[in-house]
Symmetry: C3
Subunit: 204 residues, 3 copies
């Protein structure tokens, strides 16, 4: 199914951008693979651990680990190419954000979670991988101060959940979720749309 | 019940001080809410994941997420006020440390854990939220080098457990736990009581 | 059994080196104990949480916490001695890497996991404690850029799994795993054998 194909492509794309980040920090090949796995699979893993949803996806399907490491090693070999295709990767990342969100919502719904938790589960699936990558690279997570990202995930999850509760077919609702989330994220990148910031200086 | 009320107030207070910390780092509104949730709910979440105690409290009661985010957004609007009330928040934080510890001990006891694990579960509930906040803000956790905090939690948990095992009523034991933990933490802040440090310089 | 004895010694050794790292950052005594526990028990804890293997080892056997804290406090008292024995600790750490890997593989096999996951479980048990220590100390994890470490764990796990699948006795397979992993790690330290690095500079 198309969703599954996009999921696999997005997973590989996330692994490849993480591998470039590892290269900027001169990590060794093992570190590159580990950072790629954590970035690509960390969101789903965090969601499953928080919901108590076992086995984890990559424990059930270890080929996901193989795929992620293969994408990381490919990036080592063809780093210039991956970097030149930066725009394509941003688009793939936007697709990935939507598909990860949908997958996360589906799993929470299958467990019978409440609407808020369904949307939160979608968002965790979409954004936590990048947070873990930044923590391991010893950066303040980008998520906290960059273009709309988590917000896109929340909007996508809300639209998806609403569509299903209105009784629309799954195919239609997925199409609507992509039609909302993907252009929103791309617009956020192009026009540098950010959440307002909370800038605070101490009184003292 | 009074304990529940203090728990809710302490949760909001933790979220508000975390929101100020986010503001000092110029995070966006989403980052502020996320940091507030991680700080306020991260201790209980870590305890539940480590003990295998599902569903997590905020998955079972999603209103806790709403409360935490509301407290964070309130802080954005009234940051000066929150900062001016710093002393009040320190007192609320001290109350929170005691109530989080008691809640953590209760959950571990209900699972039939051994006394050491009950005390550890109380301490994790009380202190891990702040550690996660510091890691996400890219700081060395304050916990490792500041005034008595985890020690207060351990003392509170030990007194609580001992009181229950002596057969005292729950109300009395809770009162004793507050009478031990709260003044101890407040005294630690006022008199800057710290654990001794282990300062080591390499031989080479 | 010998494996159990080596496991306990290695746990204490990991706790002691972590305590020295805490001392270099002037942490207080509680921080020293916490960092020692996270380093010594964090790998097994991460493995169990990811596999859904409850109760965690230290929840089931709280004496492991006592042992780790005792080793940390011993280090505070005898820091010079521990630092002078640095070479001995590197050897103990190499023994620990092998024994942690074997224990991790055993647990995954007992759960009926697939071969890839068995090897990954062994590696997580062996290396994640050190990653958590570095994240809490606000460093980029050493693992990502130092001498062969995770690779040794993966090789050890692969040999161990292969030996068992060939029908060799457990004792023999354990002996072979030590004969492969221990000298490999020691050689990596002595000859500074590293994984090749992926060094990448942006185009822009």
């Amino acid at each position: 199914m198309l969703l599954q194909v996009i999921f696999i492509i997005a997973l590989a794309a996330e692994a490849m951008t993480a591998a470039l980040a590892a290269g900027r920090r001169s990590m060794d090949w093992f570190g590159v693979c580990l950072l790629a796995c954590v970035t690509a699979l960390g969101g789903g893993t965090t969601r499953d651990v928080l919901l108590g949803h076992y086995p984890l996806s990559w424990v059930h399907d270890p080929y996901l680990l193989v795929l992620t490491c293969a994408a990381a090693l490919f990036t080592i070999a063809f780093a210039r190419l991956v970097d030149r295709l930066r725009m394509a990767f941003l688009l793939l990342d936007a697709l990935g954000l939507v598909v990860f969100t949908i997958v996360g919502c589906d799993i929470a719904m299958a467990m019978g979670q409440s609407p808020i938790i369904v949307i939160v589960a979608g968002m965790i699936t979409g954004v936590v991988g990048g947070v873990l990558r930044d923590v391991l690279c010893n950066d303040v997570p980008l998520l906290f101060s960059s273009e709309l990202y988590a917000t896109v995930s929340i909007a996508t999850g809300a639209v998806y959940l609403l569509g299903l509760q209105l009784g629309l077919t799954a195919e239609l609702v997925i199409a609507i979720a992509f039609a909302v989330g993907f252009p929103l994220r791309v617009a956020a990148i192009i026009f540098k749309i950010q959440m307002p910031r909370f800038v605070y200086k101490d009184l003292h």
